[in-house]
C-alpha cells in the first residue's frame, strides 16, 4: 500500500522537497530530521481512509513542505553558529598559545597602534568635546585684539577698546572686562608673596553663569570707588590658605596691607586661562571704569569675556564686532587703524596652542595604527602561508569560503582584543606623559582619565584594527586557488604580491611620519640657533611692582637705585639693571606710543608712528649683553634734573631714520599720559621679545631716573660659578623694603625655553609616532624576510649544493629585501612631498621639502631596512646545506 507506484503525486512532490531540504540539515541530525518530516506527511495521507484530502488540502500540504527548507536551514545555522563560535575561539586561542613568538610580536604591534590612537583620540576628546564646568559653555567667548596687517592675534585688549566693545555691542547677554592685577600677601611669619588676581567688571559673574560655592558675588554698589574692598577667593586659594573653612566668608583678610572682606568662594574647576602666563587668578576684585581708561587705546592689557545672547550666532557676533572695530578705526586712526576684534569661543581658547596641531597629531596616530594593522596582517599572511595546507585540507573537506574567512577574523579579533587591552595600558602611560609635557597654555589636559568614554574609544579602535588586520589575509587565504597549496606542499610563493605590497606601504608610511618628525626636529634646532639679541645664560629676572610703598616718582627712583646698588655689591654679580618690558617674561608691560621727530612733519596716523616705549634702569643693557652700536648708554649724570635722553634699537633706526644717524635727534614721545622731549644718545642692538620666531621690535628706551616707573623687572647677570642665587637677590630687595613681593622670578634661560614648550611638545609626540612606525616597519620587513627565507631553505640548499657561495645567497636575499625597502622609501618620499606642507605652519627656517631632512631620514630608513634584511639573510647563509636539503 505504501509502495512507490501508488503514492499520490502530491505526496511524491512533498517528499522530493523534503529530501532536497534534508541536504541542508546538519549531518548529525539529518536522518532524524528527514524521518520526522516524512512521518508527518505520510501520516496525513494514511489518514485518507478516514478523511479524504481535498485538492486544496493537498496543495496546502505541498506548500507546507517547502517550510522544510526554512526548518533545515535554521537548524544548520544554529548548529554551526554554536559550534563554530566555540570552535573558532578555542582554535584561535590554541593557535595563539602554540606560537608564542608570533602572538607576542602581534600583540606588541597592535598595542602600539591602538595605544597611540586611543591616547590621541582621548586627548582630542578631552580638549574639544568634554563638558566644561560653565553652564552653556558653547555660548561663552573671549575677545581679543588682532592686528589687521601682521595677522598677529589673541592680543590683550586696550581698555578704551574693551569699554567700547562692551558698551556698544548688542550680541552679548553679558560682557565683562577683566584686568590682571596682583596682590601682595604676607602670611604670619612668612615671606611676602604675590597672589595673581583680577579685577572684574559688574557682569563678569553673569558671563560665567556659575553660582558661588559659598557666599555671593559682588553687589552693584561694590563696583564704586571706596566700596570695592571686597574679594571673591578662588577654590584653590581657599583650600590651600584658609583650610576650606566656609566661615572665612564675611571676614576680612589683609591684601596689599589693606583689609578686604571675603564675600564669596568660587566653585572648583573654573579656568579661563586669560593671561599670557596662564596662571589662574586666586582673588577676584570688583572693577569700575576710570575716566582715563577710556582714552587708553594703543596699549592692550585687559581681557574681555562675554556670553552670547540667546539667538545670536558666533558669526553674527563676529560681524558686529568687526563693524564696531571698523568704526573705532575711523574714530581713533592713530591707535586703531589696524586693530580688529577676535571672537574666540572659550573652548577653542582653552585648547590653547594644541588646538591647531591636534588634527595633525591625530593623523599621525592613525598612520601608526595603519602601520601596525598592516604589520599584523602581514604576520597573519605569513602564518597563513604555513597554514595553507590546513586551509586547503579544510576546503577539500567541504569548509566554505565564508567559514574560513570567519575563522581568520575570529583570530584577528582575539589578537586585537588582547592587543587592545595592552594598548589601553599603553595609552594610559602615554597620556600621563603627554599631560606632563603639555604646553602650559593648554587647559584641561590634566583632566584626562581613562574612563568609560576612553574605553569605548579604545574598543572602537580595536574593532577597526581587527577587521583591518584580519580581512586581507582572510580573503587572500580563503581563495580557492589556495587549494593548490595542497599539491605544492609548503613551497608556495615566497613573499607574494600582497605581502610585498603591505611591507612597502609600511615602510612608506613610516618614512612619511619620520620625515614629518625630522622636519620638526630641524625646526626646533633652527629656532634655538636664532640669536635673540642677548645672552641667555646666567641671568636672573625678578619682576616687582613697586608702587604701593613708593608712591612718588622720587621714592621709586631711590628704591630702584638702592636695590640695584645692593645687588651690585653681591659677590659674583657682573651687572645689574632693571627694565619695564623684559623680553620673554609673561606679564609684560608693553606700552606703545606715537613718536614725533623734531624737524619732520607729523607722520600719518596708525601703526607707522608707534614705537614701543620702555624704561631702563642701571646696567640693563650690560646685564642682558645687548650691544651698544652707536653713541652711549644711559649714565649716572642722566638724572631727573638733566635733559631727557633716549636710546633706540636698530629696528627703530631702520624704521624712523633709514640710512641716517639718529644720535642727536630730538623726539617727542608720550609715556603713561606724560609728554617727554628727548634726545637720542645711543643705538643698541635688537632683542627679540615674545618669541624666537617673532621679529625684533622697534623700541625706544627712557632712563629710569628721568621717568621713574614702578613696574620693573630686575635683571642680574652673574659670573660663572657665582654664589648668587635667586634667594640672595631677593634678600637684597628685602633689605630695602621687607614687604616687597615678587610677581615672577625666573632665569632668562627659563623664560626663553618656555616659549618653545609648545613646539617641543608637538615635536616629541610626532617623533614618538615616527619612531614607533619605523620600528614597526622594520619588524614587518624582518618578518617578511625571515619568513621568505624560511620558505626557501630547500632552494638555498640546492643552490649551495650546486656550488653557490654563501655571499651569492646573501646577495640574493639581501637584494630582495632592499628592493622592497627602496620601493617603500620612494613611495614614502612622494607621500612626504605631498603631505609635509600640512606642517608648514609649524616649521621654522626650513621648507616643507627640506632636502637635508629628506636625505637623512631616507638614509636612516634604508639603514634600518638593510639591517632588518641582513639578520635573516645571514641566518640563511649559515645554515647547513645538508640540513636545508632535508627540510620538509
Amino acid at each position: 500500500m505504501t509502495s512507490r507506484t501508488r503514492e499520490p503525486f502530491a505526496l511524491r512532490a512533498c517528499l522530493v522537497v523534503v529530501r532536497a531540504a534534508a541536504r541542508l540539515a546538519p549531518v548529525g541530525e539529518r536522518d532524524a530530521w528527514r524521518r520526522e518530516w516524512e512521518a508527518e506527511l505520510r501520516h496525513r495521507w494514511s489518514n485518507q481512509r478516514h478523511h479524504q484530502l481535498s485538492r486544496g488540502e493537498q496543495l496546502s500540504l505541498v506548500r507546507r513542505s517547502f517550510g522544510a527548507v526554512v526548518d533545515a536551514a535554521w537548524l544548520r545555522r544554529q548548529v554551526t553558529l554554536d559550534a563554530d563560535a566555540v570552535h573558532d575561539t578555542t582554535y584561535g586561542l590554541r593557535l595563539l598559545v602554540k606560537s608564542p613568538s608570533f602572538t607576542l610580536v602581534a600583540l606588541l604591534v597592535l598595542a602600539t597602534g591602538i595605544g597611540a590612537t586611543t591616547a590621541l583620540v582621548a586627548l582630542t576628546d578631552a580638549l574639544m568635546f568634554r563638558r566644561l564646568p560653565l553652564p552653556d559653555a558653547d555660548r561663552v567667548v573671549t575677545l581679543w585684539e588682532r592686528h589687521r596687517t601682521t595677522g598677529i592675534g589673541r592680543e590683550d585688549v586696550a581698555p578704551g577698546n574693551a569699554i567700547d566693545w562692551i558698551s556698544h555691542s548688542s550680541s552679548f547677554a553679558a560682557a565683562a572686562a577683566v584686568e590682571p592685577w596682583s596682590l601682595d600677601f604676607t602670611a604670619p611669619g612668612g615671606e611676602p608673596e604675590v597672589f595673581q588676581a583680577v579685577r572684574v567688571t559688574n557682569r563678569f559673574f553673569d558671563v560665567l553663569g556659575v553660582p558661588m560655592l559659598h557666599g555671593r558675588t559682588f553687589l552693584p554698589p561694590e563696583f564704586t570707588r571706596g566700596n570695592d574692598r571686597v574679594a571673591v577667593l578662588s577654590y584653590g586659594l581657599w583650600e590651600e590658605r584658609f583650610g576650606a573653612d566656609p566661615s572665612i566668608v564675611g571676614r576680612a583678610i589683609r591684601l596689599d596691607n589693606q583689609p578686604y572682606t571675603v564675600v564669596g568662594i568660587m566653585p572648583p574647576g573654573i579656568e579661563l586661562r586669560l593671561f599670557e602666563q596662564r596662571r589662574e587668578p586666586r582673588v577676584y576684585l570688583p572693577k569700575y571704569f576710570e575716566d582715563y581708561e577710556a582714552r587708553i587705546r594703543g596699549t592692550g592689557y585687559w581681557n574681555v569675556v562675554a556670553r552670547l545672547r540667546a539667538g545670536v550666532s558666533l558669526p553674527q557676533a563676529r560681524s558686529e564686532l568687526e563693524t564696531l572695530s571698523a568704526y573705532l578705526a575711523t574714530q581713533y586712526p592713530q591707535s586703531n587703524a589696524n586693530i580688529v576684534s577676535d571672537v574666540v569661543p572659550i573652548r577653542d581658547h582653552l585648547a590653547g596652542s594644541l588646538r591647531s596641531v591636534l588634527p595633525l597629531l591625530l593623523g599621525a596616530a592613525a598612520l601608526v595604527l595603519m602601520v601596525s594593522c598592516a604589520n599584523v596582517a602581514n604576520l597573519m599572511l605569513a602564518r597563513g602561508a604555513v597554514r595553507g595546507r590546513e586551509f586547503a585540507v579544510r576546503q577539500a573537506l567541504g569548509a566554505g569560503r565564508g567559514r574560513l574567512i570567519r575563522q581568520m577574523l575570529v583570530e584577528s579579533l582575539l589578537l586585537a582584543f588582547l592587543g587592545g587591552a595592552a594598548g589601553v595600558l599603553l595609552a594610559r602611560v602615554s597620556l600621563s606623559v603627554i599631560s606632563s609635557l603639555r604646553p602650559i597654555d593648554v587647559a584641561g589636559a590634566d583632566l584626562i582619565a581613562l574612563d568609560l568614554r576612553v574605553a569605548a574609544i579604545a574598543f572602537g579602535v580595536t574593532l577597526v584594527s581587527a577587521v583591518a588586520a584580519g580581512l586581507a589575509p582572510a580573503l587572500q587565504l580563503s581563495r580557492p586557488a589556495a587549494a593548490r597549496a595542497l599539491r605544492q606542499a609548503n613551497t608556495a610563493g615566497a613573499t607574494g604580491p600582497l605581502r610585498a605590497a603591505l611591507v612597502i606601504v609600511e615602510v612608506s608610511l613610516a618614512l612619511l611620519l619620520a620625515v614629518g618628525a625630522g622636519l620638526l626636529v630641524r625646526s626646533l634646532h633652527e629656532i634655538q640657533r636664532v640669536d635673540p639679541g642677548f645672552a641667555r645664560d646666567r641671568v636672573f629676572a625678578l619682576q616687582v611692582f613697586a608702587w604701593d610703598r613708593n608712591t612718588t616718582a622720587a621714592k621709586r627712583a631711590v628704591f630702584f637705585e638702592q636695590v640695584l646698588d645692593g645687588m651690585r655689591s653681591l659677590p659674583g654679580v657682573e651687572a645689574a639693571g632693571a627694565v619695564s618690558a623684559m623680553p620673554f617674561i609673561e606679564a609684560n608691560i608693553n606700552i606703545r606710543s606715537a613718536i614725533a621727530i623734531a624737524g619732520r612733519p607729523t607722520p600719518p596716523a596708525g601703526d607707522d608712528a608707534l614705537i614701543y616705549t620702555t624704561i631702563v634702569a642701571g646696567d640693563y643693557f650690560r646685564a642682558m649683553n645687548i650691544p651698544l652700536e652707536r653713541g652711549r648708554l644711559f649714565d649716572r649724570p642722566d638724572s631727573s634734573t638733566s635733559r631727557t635722553v633716549a636710546i633706540v634699537t636698530r629696528s627703530a633706526v631702520r624704521k624712523f631714520w633709514p640710512g641716517e644717524n639718529p644720535v642727536g635727534a630730538r623726539v617727542n614721545i608720550r609715556f603713561t599720559g606724560k609728554a617727554y622731549e628727548a634726545e637720542i644718545v645711543g643705538v643698541v642692538g635688537d632683542a627679540r621679545h615674545d618669541g624666537l620666531d617673532r621679529p625684533a621690535r622697534s623700541e625706544l628706551f627712557l632712563a629710569h631716573p628721568q621717568v621713574p616707573f614702578g613696574s620693573m623687572t630686575l635683571v642680574v647677570r652673574t659670573t660663572a660659578g657665582s654664589p648668587a642665587t635667586m634667594h640672595t637677590l631677593k634678600e637684597r630687595v628685602w633689605a630695602v623694603d621687607p614687604q616687597q613681593a615678587f610677581y615672577r622670578t625666573a632665569t632668562l634661560d627659563e623664560l626663553v625655553a618656555r616659549t618653545l614648550v609648545g613646539r617641543r611638545f608637538t615635536m616629541m609626540l610626532l617623533t614618538g609616532f615616527g619612531l614607533a612606525a619605523l620600528l614597526l616597519a622594520a619588524a614587518g620587513l624582518y618578518g617578511v624576510m625571515s619568513f621568505s627565507i624560511g620558505q626557501r631553505t630547500r632552494e638555498f640548499g640546492v643552490r649551495m649544493a650546486l656550488g653557490a657561495r654563501p655571499s651569492d645567497i646573501l646577495h640574493l636575499v639581501f637584494r630582495e629585501g632592499v628592493t622592497l625597502a627602496l620601493a617603500g622609501i620612494a613611495l614614502g618620499i612622494v607621500a612626504a612631498l605631498l603631505f609635509t606642507r600640512l606642517l608648514r605652519a609649524l616649521l621654522f627656517g626650513i621648507s616643507a621639502s627640506d632636502p637635508l631632512t629628506f636625505v637623512v631620514v631616507g638614509l636612516f630608513v634604508l639603514v634600518i631596512s638593510a639591517f632588518s634584511c641582513y639578520v635573516p639573510a645571514r641566518r640563511a647563509v649559515h645554515a647547513d646545506p645538508l640540513v636545508t636539503l632535508k627540510a620538509d
Binding site: H43, G67, D71
Partner: protein
C-alpha cells in the same frame, strides 16, 4: 527565552493536546517554517520534550512513527506567564486560519 506571539501560540497549542508538528500548524495557523524552528528552540531550552511515537501505533496505521512533543513543567510555567501577557483566548480566536481539528486519536 524570547516570548513572541507565535511562540506563545505554539505553547498554547501543545497545552491543548496538539502534540505533532503538523497538528500544531493546523491549530495555530502558523506556517511550517515558523512552527518547526520554534519547536526546536523550545526543545533545546527544555521547555518542550520530544520523543518518537510508539512503533506499534505507527505499524498499525501503516506509516512511519511520528515525532511527539510535550510541554515540560518549565514550559507550562512559561505558558502561564505568556497567557497573562498576550491574553491568549482572545488572541487565539483572532489568529488567522484557526481551525481546530477534531482529535484524531
Amino acid at each position: 527565552m524570547n516570548l513572541t506571539l507565535p511562540t506563545t501560540l505554539v505553547l498554547h497549542a501543545l497545552a491543548r493536546g496538539h502534540h505533532h508538528g503538523f497538528d500544531v500548524m493546523d491549530a495555530t495557523g502558523l506556517p511550517s517554517g515558523t512552527v518547526y524552528p520554534i519547536l526546536r528552540r523550545l526543545e533545546r531550552e527544555g521547555l518542550v520534550s520530544a520523543d518518537w511515537e510508539a512503533a506499534a501505533i505507527a505499524r498499525e496505521e501503516q506509516r512511519p512513527p511520528r515525532r511527539y512533543y510535550e510541554l515540560t513543567a518549565a514550559g507550562e510555567a512559561l505558558l502561564a506567564t505568556a497567557r497573562t501577557r498576550y491574553r491568549i483566548p482572545r488572541t487565539l480566536r483572532r489568529a488567522r486560519g484557526l481551525k481546530p481539528r477534531p482529535s484524531q486519536s
